[in-house]
């Protein structure tokens, strides 16, 4: 093939790639512009600090924002230690045999299970079986199950990427497996682990179906009780058993209402949700950059 033709092929490939990228950006921009047009006017401080209301002009997202944050907190507290622990066991401790392979394949499959099924599972297991009710705790644990496979797979991958030299150096000094994993392997894998955790959590933020399945409320005009109190022991766990609403549920609820004025509210809440996700992703990128740059001075 002549040099000129090869160059042409090069340019064509670049053009096709650029076109694909533009399509993607255009779709993203269209979503944002539409949301801004529909809900931009509603988005203000009032909207953020107001409770639910029958009047679309007075309704706000405060309960949904607080609910999303609390549910996410429970999800993170449950999914991160369990996910990292499972990944460390599978990668560093488990014998290399059929059973381990089988478990690994099943964890990967779990990540592909439709999220509504997790909702059905927790409806029978958590809400009724363990009698947690339609609570923040039940919702957080449901989302934790959803996120767990992502955390496990990402953490395993990150652990696998740690250079074998680091492990051998540690063992050669007489370190135990736990000392090696805890002091050297896990810290070296932190950027990858963080990526998995954040990706999982940002998926959890947007989930609607499993929470609907376990019976979340559509209209919440109150906030859960505070976590910290003035009397000893200063922490209060009652918020865990409170009913809740989250941002995506609020959007869904507003879209179902006959009054079209609620559509603007839904769009405004959509902007908030998108902003929330962007913020979490930005935090992830920042954390990764900080821990990936080995020459950074502390």
């Amino acid at each position: 093939m002549s040099l000129a033709r090869r160059r042409l092929g090069d340019r064509a490939a670049a053009a096709v790639g650029l076109l694909a990228l533009l399509c993607l950006l255009l779709a993203l921009a269209a979503v944002f512009v539409q949301l801004l047009l529909d809900g931009g006017a509603r988005l203000g401080l009032d909207f953020i600090v107001s409770m639910a209301s029958r009047d679309p002009a007075r309704a706000g997202v405060l309960p949904a924002l607080v609910g999303s944050a609390l549910v996410l907190l429970v999800t993170a507290l449950a999914a991160v230690p369990v996910g990292i622990g499972a990944a460390v066991y599978l990668q560093e401790y488990a014998p290399d045999n059929r059973l381990t392979d089988l478990i690994e394949v099943n964890i990967a499959n779990l990540a592909a299970v439709p999220s509504v099924l997790f909702g059905l599972l927790s409806l029978s297991l958590l809400v009724h079986g363990l009698a947690l009710g339609e609570s923040i705790l039940a919702a957080g644990l449901t989302l934790a199950m959803l996120v767990l496979p992502l955390v496990v797979v990402a953490t395993r991958e990150a652990l696998r990427q740690v250079p074998v030299g680091v492990r051998e150096a540690s063992y050669a000094l007489g370190a135990s497996r736990w000392q090696t994993v805890w002091r050297h392997v896990l810290p070296a894998a932190t950027p990858g682990v963080l990526t998995g955790v954040i990706l999982g959590l940002s998926r959890a933020i947007g989930e609607t179906a499993p929470l609907l399945a376990l019976g979340a409320l559509g209209f919440v005009a109150f906030l859960p009780p505070p976590m910290l109190v003035v009397e000893p022991p200063f922490v209060d766990g009652r918020w865990l058993s409170d009913p809740f609403i989250t941002l995506p549920l609020q959007i869904y609820d507003w879209l179902l209402r006959p009054d079209p004025a609620f559509r603007a509210n839904a769009a405004a809440a959509g902007l908030l949700l998108a902003g929330f996700t962007l913020l979490v992703n930005a935090a992830a990128i920042g954390l990764r950059w900080r821990s990936r740059n080995p020459t950074r001075q502390r």
Partner: protein
Amino acid sequence: MSSDRTGPDLKARAQGLGFHYGPVRALKGVDLPVVANEVTCLIGPSGCGKSTLLRCFNRLHDLYPGHRYEGSIQLQPDGVDLLAPGFDPVMARLRIGMVFQAPNPFPSSVFENIAFGLRVAGEKRPLALAERVETALREAALWDEVKDRLDAPALSLSGGQQQRLCIARALATQPEMLLFDEPTSALDPAGTAHIEALITELKQRTTILLVTHNLQQAGRVSRFAAFMYRGEVVEYGETERLFTRPARTRTENFITGRFG
């Protein structure tokens, strides 16, 4: 040590040493004396089993499934057999340090790289730790270059400095013996000269077993050498004698560059 022996004191001795990775037989019937406070060099073509032999001394093969040892490695002065069933590999690693082919500092600070081994060995007092970190860095001729940035990430050092840091890390616990696995193969000539000078100096304090691809290096730093081929020690002797008057044709062919 025993006075009836005419030869030099031995630090370690491998006898009838065999090693298998699963079905692969990597070492067979290896006999190797390691003379105390001297540098012993392992030379031979790629894949001859030099590194495999080296890694038997600190039982590093135990990290991977499918390993099997035969024979014995006696470590003096107590004469313990490092390969005996029931012998804890960690005991071998606490007494015998290792420096690897490519610098492999931990992704933490200069100080923490060296303090880790001391902590593993049970040292917890901060003052004693700081003192021994400094001593190790001085012994590895790195102190003057890093004394103002002990908290800097180890990975911010140059390749040669990283390798000296790895030597300091191995020295910190005052090992009775040091294993070097081609320690200069990833370094430039200046870094190599630095490490070689260090090895020559270190033999006063410890016993060194060195794998190298570089025959000039073997000639410069070692007193004894073993030529290996296909998992066996073909010839062992004083390096100078081995290089000038090899007893075996295969050794001669290797040294004169006819193969390998």
